[in-house]
Amino acid sequence: MQNNRKVVVIAGGASGIGRTTGFELANRGYRVACIDVNAEAGNQTVAELNEITDAAFFQCDLTKMDMIKTTIDRIAEHFGRIDALLCAAAITKHIRVMDITEANWDLYLTLDLKAQFFVSQACAPHMVKAGGGRIVHFSSMLGTIGDGKHILYGAAKAALHSMTRELAIDFWKDNIQVTAIAPAYVLTPLVARHLDEPGWKEKQLNAQLNTRMLYPEDIAKTIAFLVTCKTPALNGAVINTDAGVLCFRFKPKRMQVT
């Protein structure tokens, strides 16, 4: 019976939204293969996941494409199948145009775009063997709008939108559905440190519609739906998981938080 349970691969699953999604899917009956470059955090996450499901950690440097292929094949061998993939690994920091070098161009575009492609490509044959699968790409509102400090991350995410469509089209007869989620402001531990800055939270809330800020759990629940939903008709789309950020330009002053 055990081996019939579905398996999700989460690249960048040791921390942040990747980690939270692991727990969300574990609670929905999935076994979890956690990929991360950070072995200490990865082993810790997997130890906690093992209290709810079968989970295993696989260390992998996502800048090495041959290592990605080997790791995914090892996962398929370990669990016997791969049904779903979330690639949540990414690198970003504030960087302005005049500070960009060829080296950071290559690093960012490798981790934020190339790795997502090659992880997807490596998982697809195993999904085909399992009769189909689900791939959820991790995008961002920065794939659609800019902010003057994430040119490399934004370029990668915009390219990811095109890649989401292309993979959905290429795999349609193989019953693999590919979607992307595009979050905006999420209170991950890394972001939450800004809460101490005066006016920061108000500015964030005025840029979104929901009255409370989003937590990793909110994004993880939507990813879990995209992975587990029965319909194959939700395909090729970028889903804005942004608390409304992209749907409006400004709101009346009376609605603003001060």
Binding site: A124, P125, V128, K129, R165, A168, I169, D170, F171, W172, K173, D174, P183, Q208, L209, N210, T211, L214, D218, I219, K221, T222, A224, F225, C229, K230, T231, P232, A233, L234, N235, G236, A237, I239, N240, T241, D242, A243, G244, L246, C247, F248, K251, M255
Partner: protein, 265 residues
């Protein structure tokens, strides 16, 4: 305890898609109010929901948008609260642009746009009283984004629904009322069978799927959009289009060979 049960209102709840939504929301634990002009099918649907949780029928003809407020008032008086509104009432409007009449224009816009707006505003006035706010889902259409010909009325009405959903999402945001639309395409219903029959081949090759979309797939998405799991989605037009907008000419290749064996073995 029944007044503790969340209450969902579905306009057009007696139609094929509307009925699936009603039954799904009832299975999810909502008390469901069926608002429809068709009393026979409306009562049937409400009875089916009642067998699952609680269901009730309220007479409401979406073409008479003026009645939206009194219909929501009747729901509130009977159930004591409104948490969810799904605007599924709609009329088709296939007609070449040159033949559109003012009467046809008004009929499509009155039901699809005006009816949905006034139902939303009326329902929201009760959702504002809830501690946790509420949730509105408008059934739009992928035709609000892309043309298929001879559909100027229907497509324009659905584009209006999509824009209206964004504006409602802003205006109702202070009250924790979330508004999204669901852009459907090629849903298999008797209502659309005749209209889409002659272009069945075109419809089928427009999707990354080898069949039409089923009403229960629409209700699966509605169920998600009204649940806490979609808290992060707001002001969004969710496409349930089987990839229809992602390409123009579909490739027929596959990673399986003709024997059904995949190339990777």
């Amino acid at each position: 305890m029944d007044h503790e049960r969340k209450v969902a209102v579905v306009t057009g709840g007696a139609g094929t898609i509307g009925k699936e939504i009603v039954l799904r929301l009832a299975s999810d634990g909502f008390a469901v109010c069926v608002l429809d002009a068709d009393e026979v099918r409306g009562r049937e649907t409400a009875d089916a929901a009642d067998a699952l949780t609680k269901g009730a029928y309220f007479g409401y003809d979406a073409v008479r948008w003026q009645d939206a407020a009194s219909a929501m008032d009747a729901v509130y008086r009977a159930f004591g609260r409104i948490d969810v509104l799904v605007n599924a009432a709609e009329v088709p409007g296939k007609c070449p642009a040159e033949e559109v009449t003012s009467e046809a224009f008004d009929r499509v816009m009155n039901v699809n746009v005006k009816g949905a707006l006034f139902a939303a505003v009326a329902a929201a006035s009760y959702m504002k009283r809830n501690e946790k706010g509420g949730c509105i889902v408008n059934i739009s259409s992928i035709q609000g984004r892309i043309a298929i010909g001879e559909q100027v009325l229907y497509s324009a009405s659905k584009a209006a629904v999509i824009a209206m959903t964004r504006e409602l999402a802003v205006d109702l945001s202070p009250y924790n009322i979330k508004c999204n639309s669901l852009a459907t395409w090629a849903v298999d219903t008797p209502e659309t069978a005749e209209e889409s029959g002659e272009m069945r081949d075109q419809v089928l090759s427009s999707m990354l799927l080898d069949r039409l979309i089923r009403p229960e797939e629409v209700s699966e998405l509605v169920s998600f959009l009204v649940s806490d799991d979609s808290y992060c989605i707001n002001g969004f037009d969710m496409p349930l289009d089987a990839g229809m907008t992602t390409f123009r000419i579909r490739p027929e290749h596959s990673y399986f060979d003709d024997e059904g064996k995949n190339y990777y073995n």
